[in-house]
Every structure is written in structure tokens, then in C-alpha cells.
């Protein structure tokens, strides 16, 4: 028995909700579903808050270190004689923080969806899937071991698949859901291999023993390694690939923009705030291992994160689909977090990057969810995704406009809002350890401010197209979450995050790095100013700029043709040169061989029919010659033996 046994309720309640709703999906009225689902998730939220309170405030650090608890645990499966897979809840700094993030955003999205999905046929199905996702995500964040993470990793993947493909009659939605699932599945393969390799050498899945630096001595890490990498580096890189798939790191990012085919609340919940940061969370979970056992792997994480961040920011500048801009912004921001982890070290002040990354994860979840929900509200109002068909909406959608502006300011790193604080920490950490990453992140900060305000101005200012129906603010169910999230986007920046989250469990005292803050603020102001000049009012400046850098623009607009490369590889290489030949080979060679055996038999049968000629004397001749041949052979055999 322990103080956290009740935490099993946190994932269990949404699971219950899922089962109840899915088995009655064509029976329950919408109201009942809404109440049930929101009630269940609200309950979970309350329990999570209680857990956080209990963990951080009631218990607090022991001997200056936050302890880790196993709240609830049972053996699920034995793998051979040594390994066993447990299911349970792990309560530590990171998981409790994630609980808050997931339940908060999920609750907001649930409430929002009551309004957003109100007229949809699949209302019940939608809520059931949301519950399923919440269950999976909560189980993921509270996983006690890496195998449990993998299990729920797959389950969040499938919830994401189901929700992206929610409008299953729309071919683009189907394609997007397929793409999302397959790309992440592909990455998961490496994750699995990483787990296999790690568990084989370490002999445990359990996070508590796996990440405890004191145990590292006892791990048997000898063995051959590939590409000159050590065993832990190889294993951790493989695991990182898994994380990169889910967190849409380059070059596995291609699914996330397409995933915007799902309903906007889904984008907010899954593809902005929670599931996509699972990769960051995974690296953070194993941070001790990355930092101490395989610094080269961690460096890779940093570079990939920084590059992705820059890369996605560049693309985001050119996109014209409302949600895609946000999607690339998400990719870019997750790259930020990854970079933050990559530049961090383990323990103490050196662990600033880790803390910063988690901090950014937290704040980003709030303002990005807000952005998406705001986008949902706008799209709901104007029935289009293209920002070219929007403009001047500030007049019609006042609340939405203000909340969206808050979020935009937050993400742009406007001083005083949450994004400012968390970004600042990351940039500081990068500055302290890796100049290359530092400069990249600085550029990204500018770009972020620019494209977000480009988006903001194009949607809420600029020219107003002719609207068939006058756009208006959404109903209360959708506005309340917007307002709450806007408040959170402002306030969460003031949490002394280092007190709660740190790489080694010891509270970290952080302070604002003024020099860094000034630089990054300047950079983002530059971006905002540029956007102001170009997009606040209609002008031909953007067009001229595009014309002057047309090649770069075209590449960026087409997302650097990464999708096309994938398409080419799958369709023209794997399908055309592997799969189709195999199908052919199977039908014609393997099966053909079998048929050929039959054919040969039957043909032989027809060819030899002449032997049975009907002529008595031919029969007799066969008889006589057989007798003579056999006797000759027999005598020969006899004389030679």
C-alpha cells in the first residue's frame, strides 16, 4: 500500500468512459455522452491536480531530492525467465507534470468539443475516441517502464489514427490518417528495436532502476556495436527515432501537417499539446541514460531538434492553410524542446536545458492548444481553412481575436507571457553549451514571431473577403476553454518551474537571464515588426518578396519536397520494385512451380500413352525385354557382389 495507489483511477476512468460510450454509440443521446465524457475527464483532472498537490506540496522533496513512487503496479506479462512487463503508475516529477498538461488540455478540449462537434453525426464516436486517447496518453505518461510506454505509445498512435480519420468519408482524411499511422509505426519499429537492445543488455524495463545512475555500473553493456556506436548509444538512438516519429522530427515530420485533416479539437489535443510531445517526454524519461551513457546520442537529439525547428519554421512562413501553419509551428516548437534536451547535461545547473525543455513543453501545450482551438473557432465560423479567404475577423469574433492574440504573443516570446520565459531558458541553455544550436534557435525565435504574426494579421486584419454568412464568436462551450487557456498561457510562465522539474530530482533555482532575454526579445520584435509591415494591411510587398526569392519560396512552400521523396520511395521503389515483383514472383514462380509439377505429371501421362498401344505383340515385347534386362542386371549384380 502506498499513498498513490489511487492513481490507477487516472487512466482507468477514461477507459471506462470509452467502453461505456463505444458500446452505446448509437444509443446514447448527445447530451448524455457529453456529460459522461466531460464528467469522466473532469474527475481525472481533479485527481491529477490532487496528485500534483500531494506530490509537490504535501510530500515534497526528501533530502533535497524528489522521490519516485510506484503508485500502482501488477505484472502483466512475463517475457521468458528474466524479463517481465508490468503495468502501473509511476509518480515522479515528469509524470505528474505531464498529468497536469494532459488532463488540463483534455478537459478543455472536451468542453470545447461539445460545442464544436454539436451537429456532427459522429458525436458519440468522437467522444469515445477522445476518452480512449486520454486513457492511452495518461497511461503513457505514468508508465512505470519502457515497455508500458511502448504499449501506450501504440495506443495513442491508434487513437490519433482514428481521430485524424474521423471524417472517414473524406479521402484526404483517410489518406492523412493512414500516413500518420504508418510513419509513426515505421518509427516505432526502431523504438521497439531500441527497447529490445536495451532490455537485452540492461535486463530491466523499469524506469526507476533503468534511470538510476547508481545502477549504471552493473549494466552489462559489452557487445558488438554497429557503425562504431556503443551499445547504449545505439539503443538510445533507436529509441530516439521512435520518439522522433511521434514528435514529428525531421525527416519523420511529414505526417503531422496532414494530420490537420482531423477535427480542430483533435489537433489541439493530440497534435499540438500532448501526443506529439511524447517523443520529448520519452527522451526526458531516459534523460539520465542519454546524458550519462550516450552523450553522442543526446547530441544527435539536440541537432535534430534544432534543425527540425529551423526547417519547420521556414516552411511555416510560406503556408496558407491556417492549421498547417500551426502544424509546422508545432513541429518547430517541439524541435525547440528536443534541442533543449540535447544541449542539457545531467544534474544541477548544468541540467538547465532539461528543465527548460519541460517548461516549454508545459507552456507550449497551453498556448498551442489555445491557438488550435482558436483556429477551430475561426474555421467553424468561415468554413474554410485557407487564410487567403480570411481577413478582418477581429470585428466579428472579438473574444476569439483576443485569446488568439494572447496565444500568438505567447508563442512569439513576447515578454511577460509564458512562452517568453520558457523559450528564454532554452536559449540560455543552448548558449551555455552549443553555439550552433543557439544561433539556430535564435533564428527560429525570429521566424516564429514573424510567421505567427503573419498568420494573425492575415486572419484578423488585412482585407476582408466577402463572407456569405457573417462570422461570429462561437458559443459558450467553445469560448470558455479559450478564455481559460488564454489565462493559462499568460500565467504558467510565472511558475518557478525549476522548483518542481529537474533532471536529477533536486530542485533547481532559476532566474531570468537578462542578456539572453534582451536578445531574444529583440529578435522576436523584429519578426513581429516585419509581419506588421507586410501583412497588417493589404500590400504587394509580400508578392514582391516572393518573386525575389522564388526558388526558396517554392521549395519552402512545397515543404522542401520531402513528401514527394517519401511518395517516390514508397510508391516507385517499395511498391513497384519490391512488392509488385514479389506478388508476381509468388503467382508465377512459386505457384508456377507447383502448377508446373502438376503440368509435367499430366503431360507425361499424355506423352507416354503410346506405350499402351493395344498391340498384343508390343506388350509381349516389353515383357520379354524386361525379363532379359532384369535377368542380365541381376546376374551382373550377383557376379559383382
Amino acid at each position: 500500500m502506498n499513498a498513490f495507489e489511487y492513481t490507477f483511477l487516472i487512466p482507468f476512468v477514461p477507459l471506462l468512459g470509452f467502453l461505456i460510450i463505444i458500446f452505446n454509440f448509437n444509443r446514447f443521446p448527445k447530451k448524455l455522452t457529453a456529460v459522461l465524457a466531460t464528467g469522466f475527464i473532469g474527475f481525472t483532472f481533479v485527481v491529477s491536480i490532487y496528485t500534483a498537490w500531494q506530490y509537490f506540496f504535501q510530500m515534497g522533496p526528501v533530502n533535497g531530492v524528489y522521490p519516485k513512487f510506484i503508485g500502482f503496479d501488477f505484472e502483466w506479462l512475463k517475457l521468458g525467465d528474466h524479463l517481465s512487463v508490468h503495468m502501473g503508475t509511476l509518480i515522479d516529477q515528469a509524470s505528474v507534470m505531464m498529468l497536469i498538461v494532459v488532463t488540463t488540455v483534455s478537459l478543455m478540449v472536451h468542453i470545447y468539443s461539445i460545442g464544436y462537434m454539436h451537429d456532427d453525426r459522429g458525436f458519440n464516436r468522437f467522444f469515445a475516441f477522445l476518452q480512449l486517447f486520454s486513457f492511452s496518453m495518461l497511461s503513457l505518461v505514468m508508465a512505470t517502464n519502457v515497455f508500458q510506454i511502448y504499449i501506450f505509445w501504440e495506443l495513442v498512435g491508434v487513437s490519433s489514427f482514428l481521430l485524424i480519420g474521423f471524417y472517414y468519408e473524406k479521402p484526404s482524411a483517410v489518406a492523412a490518417s493512414k500516413k500518420a499511422f504508418i510513419v509513426t509505426r515505421f518509427a516505432d519499429l526502431f523504438f521497439l528495436l531500441g527497447i529490445l537492445l536495451l532490455s537485452f543488455h540492461v535486463g530491466t524495463f523499469d524506469f526507476i532502476s533503468l534511470t538510476n545512475p547508481e545502477n549504471f555500473e552493473s549494466f552489462n553493456l559489452s557487445g558488438y556495436a554497429l557503425f562504431g556506436l556503443s551499445i547504449p548509444a545505439l539503443a538510445l538512438i533507436l529509441i530516439f527515432i521512435g520518439g522522433a516519429g511521434k514528435s514529428a522530427m525531421f525527416p519523420l515530420h511529414i505526417w503531422l501537417p496532414d494530420a490537420m485533416e482531423g477535427p480542430s479539437p483533435v489537433s489541439a489535443l493530440i497534435h499540438a499539446a500532448t501526443m506529439v510531445v511524447a517523443g520529448v517526454y520519452l527522451v526526458a524519461r531516459l534523460f539520465a541514460n542519454y546524458a550519462l551513457m550516450a552523450p553522442e546520442a543526446l547530441a544527435l537529439v539536440g541537432y535534430v531538434g534544432a534543425f527540425t525547428s529551423l526547417f519547420a519554421a521556414v516552411i511555416a512562413v510560406t503556408q496558407i492553410d491556417f492549421k498547417r501553419v500551426l502544424a509546422f509551428s508545432t513541429i518547430s516548437q517541439i524541435g525547440y524542446m528536443m534541442a533543449g534536451l540535447g544541449v542539457s547535461h545531467y544534474g544541477g545547473e548544468e541540467g538547465l536545458g532539461y528543465m527548460a525543455s519541460m517548461f516549454h513543453l508545459f507552456t507550449h501545450a497551453m498556448f498551442k492548444a489555445l491557438l488550435f482551438l482558436g483556429a477551430g473557432a475561426v474555421i467553424h465560423a468561415v468554413h474554410t481553412n485557407s487564410i487567403r479567404e480570411m481577413g478582418g475577423l477581429r470585428k466579428y469574433m472579438k473574444t476569439t481575436h483576443i485569446t488568439f492574440l494572447i496565444a500568438t504573443l505567447a508563442i512569439a516570446g513576447f515578454p511577460g507571457l509564458s512562452g517568453f520565459f520558457s523559450k528564454d531558458e532554452i536559449i540560455t541553455a543552448a548558449y551555455q553549451s552549443n553555439p550552433l544550436v543557439y544561433y539556430a534557435l535564435l533564428v527560429v525565435a525570429g521566424l516564429t514571431a514573424f510567421y505567427m504574426f503573419r498568420l494573425y494579421f492575415l486572419v484578423f486584419w488585412n482585407t476582408e473577403p466577402h463572407y456569405h454568412l457573417k462570422p461570429h464568436d462561437p458559443g459558450k462551450a467553445m469560448l470558455i476553454p479559450l478564455i481559460i487557456l488564454a489565462l493559462l498561457s499568460i500565467l504558467t510562465g510565472y511558475i518557478p518551474f525549476g522548483q518542481f522539474i529537474s533532471s536529477d530530482g533536486q530542485p533547481l533555482h532559476t532566474h531570468l537571464h537578462l542578456d539572453m532575454a534582451v536578445i531574444s526579445t529583440l529578435v522576436s520584435f523584429t519578426g513581429i515588426a516585419l509581419a506588421w509591415m507586410l501583412y497588417k494591411k493589404p500590400s504587394d510587398m509580400p508578392q514582391r518578396l516572393i518573386a525575389s526569392a522564388s526558388t526558396l519560396y517554392r521549395w519552402a512552400y512545397n515543404k522542401f519536397y520531402i513528401d514527394e521523396v517519401y511518395l517516390f520511395v514508397t510508391r516507385n521503389i517499395i511498391f513497384a520494385y519490391i512488392s509488385r515483383p514479389i506478388a508476381w514472383f509468388d503467382r508465377h514462380i512459386v505457384d508456377g512451380t507447383m502448377n508446373a509439377i502438376g503440368w509435367v505429371t499430366v503431360t507425361t501421362s499424355h506423352k507416354i500413352k503410346g506405350l499402351q498401344s493395344g498391340q498384343l505383340q508390343k506388350y509381349a515385347f516389353a515383357f520379354v525385354s524386361a525379363v532379359l534386362v532384369i535377368s542380365a542386371l541381376l546376374v551382373y549384380y550377383l557376379l559383382n557382389n
Binding site: S605, Q612, L616, A622, F623, V624, I630, L634
Partner: protein, 474 residues
């Protein structure tokens, strides 16, 4: 002495008496009652069959020319069962106008050939063996040509007779060489004096084996089989394919195991080669047959190849499985022939494609045919599976694993063409299937017996164990 002759030779005597009685009645009864002779013959033969199962120790006669042991009696009993079924199946054919006036002669000749087989099985020397062989084969030519109003039947008769004469010539030549080598025609003397294989013995053995191989229709001595089977009346074909083949298989077993065990090294090779050739060629020829009789002829050639698997190694198990196999082969093949006979009697059709859609109109006959074919191809739960498996066991016991493999591969080929018939009956569509056939009570009871036999002789072990017990006394 006289009594012991009667008791020891009771089966032969009984059979000859029945044959003579048939002849006698045929002479004395008037035209109208001629058909009733069949009933008398059937009843007598039934009793004779049953009487054969009384336990009996056996003995020798005529200074060893004739010897009978429980195993011989068992072999004769197995043949009796087959002949009884053949008699039942022949009832409708014997009533056809063209045959009716000579139906009782048919019975007489049939029983005579059977007595020839008896003597062949019980022979203690080559003379008795030869006489038995000829009594069993010369009248067979008459049976083959019985429908002398049909050219095919005549052709079958002459093909069989001349071919058989040729083979007998070789066989006799072989026997004369044995006589030269051993100075005696008694089996006991032969086993005693011939202990070293010599070229002369090898030659003699080949000639003897080829004569028997002819009767057993082993490749390449088999060519007559298909033509004769096709041309002969259906009843005679069934008799050919099961009874005479079974008898020769028994005789071959006795000769190889009891007379020439010392030459095992020699004949094993011959048997091995013949087995492989027979199975393959028999199957390959069977694949494309259109006529059901010809089809069954080639299938029975292939089956003969399987029988050889039991003859590879001088071992009681070999004899046991051969008797067992022949018994089940008799039941299964007769079931198939019985259905073919019913169809032929009702419609005069004997092509496989005539059977298309057979199941729709004649479900029972189709099922019997299917069971029979499954039994022939060795599919559980019907008996053929067990007999085949035990044959393979016998071959494997001698270490011939590859031969077993070849044999089972051949089972697969065989299954293909058996399934073609099943397919014709059950799957192939036919707008005008054969009409519903109502066959007479004799045929029906015969089919009933075969079906029961096909089911029970395999899955229930007493039959096998009984054979085992009899052979162990050998």
C-alpha cells in the same frame, strides 16, 4: 489317411463340390428354374466362406505337395469374402438375356478359378503351384471373353490368354532351371539345397518373378491389364482386379518369404525396382483415363505397386500387412466396382464424365463410391488409410524410407485422379445427370457389406490383430 485328406483339404474339396453341384443342377433343372441355381450357389458359397473361419491347425499332404497352415486358410478366407461379394454383384448381370442361358456355367468357371488359387496358395511344390496357377488363369480367359457377342470381350480374352501363355512359358522355364539347380521341385528341398545364390538361380528367379509379376500386373509386365479389364464384363473385371491379384500377391509373399528367403539380397532389388516403376506408371496412366473400368485398372496396377512394399523384407509383418491390405483392397475396389456395375447395369454407361452430377440423383451410390475411392487412396477414417500406413510401416521396418517416400508421393498422385472422380460426382455440373438408379437387392447387400467393411476393418483393430495371430502361427 482318407479322413485327413478330407479335413486338411476341406476348403478345396468344398469348393470343388460346390462347383460340381452347380454343374449338376444346371444339367438337371429345367429352363425356368435355372436362375435358382444362382441362389443355391450363393448360399452354398456363403456357408463355405463362413466355414473357412473355423479354427483349424492345418497339415501336409501328398508328401509335401500340398500344405495348409492357418495363414493359408486365412488367405483363402480373404479371397472367399471377395468372391462372395463378386457373386452378389454378378446377380443382375447374370440375368441379362444374353448371359442368362450360360449363367450357371459362369458360376462354375468362377469357382474353378478360385480353386486354382487355393491350390496355388497351398502348394508345397512347383508342380502343384503350376497346376494351381493354370487352373486359375486358363478359365479366366473364358470369363474375360464371356460376352462373346462383344468384340471387346473377345479381344480381352485373347489378349489375356496369349499373354498369359507367354508368361507361363517364361515361368516354366524358370521352374525348370530351379529344378536343375536343386534337383527337386519341393519347396522344402529347395530351401534346404539352395543356399548360395548362383547365376542360374538368379536367372530362374527372374523368370519365376516375371511370371508372377505378369499376373500381379507389375510394370513393365502390366500392359495386358488395362485392355483386359476394359474388355471384360464388369463382374469379371472386378474379379480380376481383386481376387486374382490378391491370390498372386499371397503366393508371391509365400514364395519369397518361405522358399527363397536366402536370396533376399537378390529379389529385394527386383521388387524395389518393380515397386517404383509400377507405382509411377500405374498412376501416370490412370491420370488421363476416361473409362471407369480402365481407370480402375490402372489404379489397381498402382495398388499392386503398393503391395510390393510389404514384400521387401522377410518378416512376418510383411505377410500380415499384405493380407490386411488385400482384404481392404478387395472391399474398397469391389465397392467402387459395385457402383460402376450398378451404373452400368442401369444405363450402360461407363465413362467418368457420365458420372457428372451423380450425387444429385444418387447420393448413396455417390457416397459409397467416394468412400471407396478414399479408401483406395488411403484417407482416414476409412480402412484404406490403415492398410497403407501399415504397408509403409513394413517397408520402413526394412529401412526403405525413400521408397516409403516415393510411395506416399504416389499416393498423392493417386489422390489426384481419385478426386477427379469425386469431383465429377459432387462438383461438376450436369444438366442431365444419370437417372436415379435402383439396383437389385444382391448388389445393394454387397455394397452394404463393403461399406461396413471399409469403415470397420480399419478403425477397429480386431481384424488386424486376427490376421496377426494367424500369421504368427505360420
Amino acid at each position: 489317411m482318407t479322413y485327413s485328406i478330407i479335413s486338411i483339404m476341406r476348403q478345396e474339396l468344398g469348393l470343388v463340390v460346390i462347383a460340381l453341384l452347380v454343374l449338376f443342377f444346371d444339367l438337371v433343372v429345367n429352363e425356368k428354374n435355372k436362375q435358382k441355381v444362382f441362389l443355391i450357389a450363393l448360399a452354398l458359397f456363403g456357408l463355405h466362406t463362413l466355414a473357412g473361419f473355423f479354427p483349424f491347425e492345418g497339415g501336409n499332404l501328398f508328401g509335401g505337395m500340398y500344405s495348409t497352415q492357418p495363414v493359408h486358410i486365412l488367405m483363402k478366407n480373404v479371397l472367399n469374402i471377395g468372391v462372395f461379394l463378386v457373386l452378389l454383384m454378378s446377380a443382375s448381370w447374370l440375368k441379362t438375356p444374353q448371359i442368362a442361358n450360360k449363367s450357371n456355367e459362369f458360376l462354375m468357371i468362377l469357382l474353378t478359378t478360385l480353386s486354382g488359387m487355393y491350390f496355388m496358395i497351398s502348394a508345397g511344390d512347383f508342380l502343384m503351384f503350376y497346376i494351381g496357377l493354370e487352373i486359375a488363369s486358363i478359365p479366366m480367359a473364358i470369363l474375360a471373353a464371356y460376352e462373346k457377342f462383344k468384340s471387346r470381350s473377345e479381344e480381352a480374352g485373347i489378349k489375356f490368354l496369349l499373354n498369359s501363355a507367354l508368361s507361363t512359358g517364361f515361368l516354366l522355364f524358370g521352374l525348370s532351371l530351379f529344378y536343375a539347380a536343386a534337383g527337386s521341385i519341393y519347396f522344402d528341398d529347395l530351401t534346404r539345397t539352395l543356399s548360395q545364390p548362383s547365376p542360374l538361380v538368379a536367372l530362374a528367379l527372374t523368370f519365376l518373378l516375371s511370371g508372377l509379376a505378369f499376373k500381379l500386373s507389375l510394370v513393365p509386365f502390366h500392359f495386358w491389364t488395362a485392355d483386359v479389364y476394359e474388355g471384360s464384363p464388369m463382374v469379371v473385371t472386378s474379379y480380376f482386379s481383386v481376387i486374382s491379384k490378391g491370390a498372386v500377391a499371397f503366393v508371391l509373399g509365400i514364395l519369397l518369404f518361405k522358399v527363397f528367403p536366402v536370396f533376399e539380397g537378390l529379389w529385394q532389388n527386383v521388387i524395389y525396382t518393380l515397386a517404383v516403376a509400377t507405382m509411377f506408371l500405374g498412376n501416370l496412366f490412370a491420370i488421363r483415363q476416361k473409362n471407369i473400368k480402365r481407370f480402375l485398372a490402372f489404379s489397381s496396377i498402382a495398388q499392386a505397386g503398393f503391395i510390393l512394399l510389404g514384400l521387401l523384407h522377410t518378416d512376418n509383418l510383411g505377410i500380415i500387412v499384405i493380407i490386411y491390405f488385400v482384404l481392404i483392397y478387395i472391399l474398397s475396389n469391389l465397392a467402387a466396382f459395385g457402383v460402376a456395375q450398378a451404373v452400368y447395369a442401369a444405363s450402360g454407361k461407363e465413362n467418368i464424365e457420365d458420372y457428372n452430377g451423380f450425387y444429385k440423383t444418387n447420393p448413396r451410390l455417390a457416397l459409397i463410391m467416394m468412400l471407396a475411392l478414399f479408401s483406395l487412396s488411403g484417407i482416414p477414417p476409412v480402412a484404406g488409410f490403415f492398410s497403407k500406413f501399415f504397408l509403409f510401416t513394413a517397408a520402413a521396418k526394412a529401412g526403405y524410407y525413400w521408397l516409403v517416400f516415393i510411395a506416399v508421393v504416389n499416393t498423392t498422385i493417386a489422390l489426384y485422379y481419385y478426386l477427379l472422380v469425386v469431383k465429377a460426382m459432387f462438383i461438376n455440373p450436369n444438366p442431365e445427370p444419370l437417372p436415379t438408379i435402383r439396383s437389385d437387392k444382391y448388389l445393394r447387400s454387397a455394397l452394404f457389406i463393403t461399406v461396413i467393411g471399409i469403415f470397420l476393418t480399419g478403425i477397429l483393430s480386431p481384424v488386424f490383430e486376427y490376421i496377426q495371430a494367424m500369421v504368427d502361427k505360420f
